[in-house]
């Protein structure tokens, strides 16, 4: 198949390099005999490709393959170590985050009871610390006075600081046992009445 002028122009560079198949090469040569334009262009190309590339030296050619191989190996190793550094702290960081969360949740839920220094358990105050007394009837009048005085003090400590309530323990202290019985009977009678 005969090549056109434009087609020959397209393949002149390939012809110059000797890269054309036999049939195409013959076509080009036949065209060149008839076409000054293409002949001029071929000459032009022949001239400009004479420009050599400066040789970097034999050492460069000999070392380049090994250098490339080592560079690739080094980069791959660096990438793997980067991976291991990236991945290793992740589970650690996740575990720390979970722990911190648990601590925060636990700290918010726990109620810390701080004892109020002014608080006295009334049950404690009611306990009589008289381990040596077997029978209340064995208590002498003097001992009884001391006990009631202590009771009065305990009762006072249970009262709120701004309390204006009056304690009758002082008055009862001065009553005899007969008089105390009369007071109890009177109180019982009042209770039955609903007063």
């Amino acid at each position: 198949m005969r090549l056109s002028h434009d087609e020959v122009k397209e393949v002149l560079a390939d012809y110059l390099k000797g890269a054309l198949p036999e049939a195409a090469r013959k076509e080009v040569e036949a065209h060149l005999k008839e076409c000054d334009g293409c002949t001029n262009e071929l000459s032009f190309l022949r001239e400009i490709v004479k420009i050599d590339v400066p040789d970097p030296g034999d050492l460069f050619w000999q070392s380049l393959p090994g250098v490339v191989r080592m560079a690739v190996k080094k980069k791959e190793a660096h990438r793997f170590s980067l991976k291991s550094i990236l991945f290793r702290p992740l589970p650690v960081a996740a575990a720390i985050a979970v722990l911190v969360l648990l601590v925060i949740i636990f700290a918010n839920n726990k109620e810390v009871s701080v004892p109020d220094p002014l608080f006295r358990d009334p049950f404690e105050a009611a306990i009589l610390e008289y381990d040596d007394i077997d029978d209340i009837n064995d208590i002498s009048g003097k001992e009884l006075s001391l006990m009631t005085a202590q009771l009065a003090d305990n009762e006072l400590s249970l009262l709120p600081l701004n309390s204006i309530e009056y304690s009758y323990n002082g008055e009862f202290d001065s009553l005899s046992s007969t008089e105390m019985n009369r007071v109890h009977d009177a109180l019982d009678a009042e209770t039955q009445k609903g007063g």
Binding site: K9, E10, A13, D14, L16, K17, A19, D36, T39, N40, E41, L42, S43, F44, L45, E47, I48, V49, K50, I51, D52, V53, P54, P56, F60, W61, L64, P65, G66, V67, V68, R69, A71, V72, K73, K75, E76
Partner: protein
């Protein structure tokens, strides 16, 4: 191309020597195209190494839609263009490698001078025209391979290439160098 695919697969399978074989096969071509773009020997050395390292690292992404060769050229071109963009400077070319440090015969001096003018005229071409000319005329890539390496259509390659040749002739003519058959 089958040989290249075989080497690629060997490397992926764990054969480190396959890397060296690929480098040996294409190192001169890649160096040449990078040098023609950057016009600096040191840059060309560094970027050639960078090209191969990047290609091997990214070999998993090589889809085999093009040949390994054009894929490699594509990487080299991109790296070179990025380098040129980052290092916009006056071209400090080691012209002594072309002109020679010693004065030779008259014909050698004239020849060297002509080469120097051609090189400088090439530098004056627009980027894509120059690249198409380098790949087609200097590197011997086919139109199809050049299109893949440049990331454009074959029609665009043809246009860039022909316009580049035409413009280069005009520039040389302006400088007083007319190449005739």
């Amino acid at each position: 191309m089958d040989e290249d695919i075989g080497l690629v697969e060997s490397y992926i399978a764990g054969d480190g020597e396959a890397v060296e074989k690929l480098v040996i096969k294409y190192q001169r071509q890649i160096y040449a195209v990078i040098y023609r773009m950057t016009k600096n020997i040191e840059d060309a050395r560094d970027l050639t190494q960078k090209t191969f390292v990047r290609a091997i690292e990214g070999i998993g992404g090589f889809r085999r839609e093009s040949s390994f060769k054009t894929w490699l050229y594509r990487i080299a071109i991109n790296i070179s263009l990025n380098h040129i963009k980052q290092n916009r400077r006056e071209d400090v070319e080691l012209v002594d490698t072309i002109m020679g440090n010693q004065a030779g015969t008259l014909s050698e001096i004239i020849e060297n001078e002509r080469k120097s003018y051609i090189k400088k005229s090439l530098d004056e071409l627009p980027g894509r025209q120059r690249l198409a000319l380098i790949l087609r005329a200097y590197e011997g890539l086919s139109c199809s391979e050049t299109a893949q390496a440049m990331g454009c259509t074959e029609g665009a390659v043809k246009a860039h290439y022909h316009n580049g040749v035409k413009r280069l002739r005009e520039i040389l003519k302006e400088k007083g160098y007319e190449i005739k058959s």
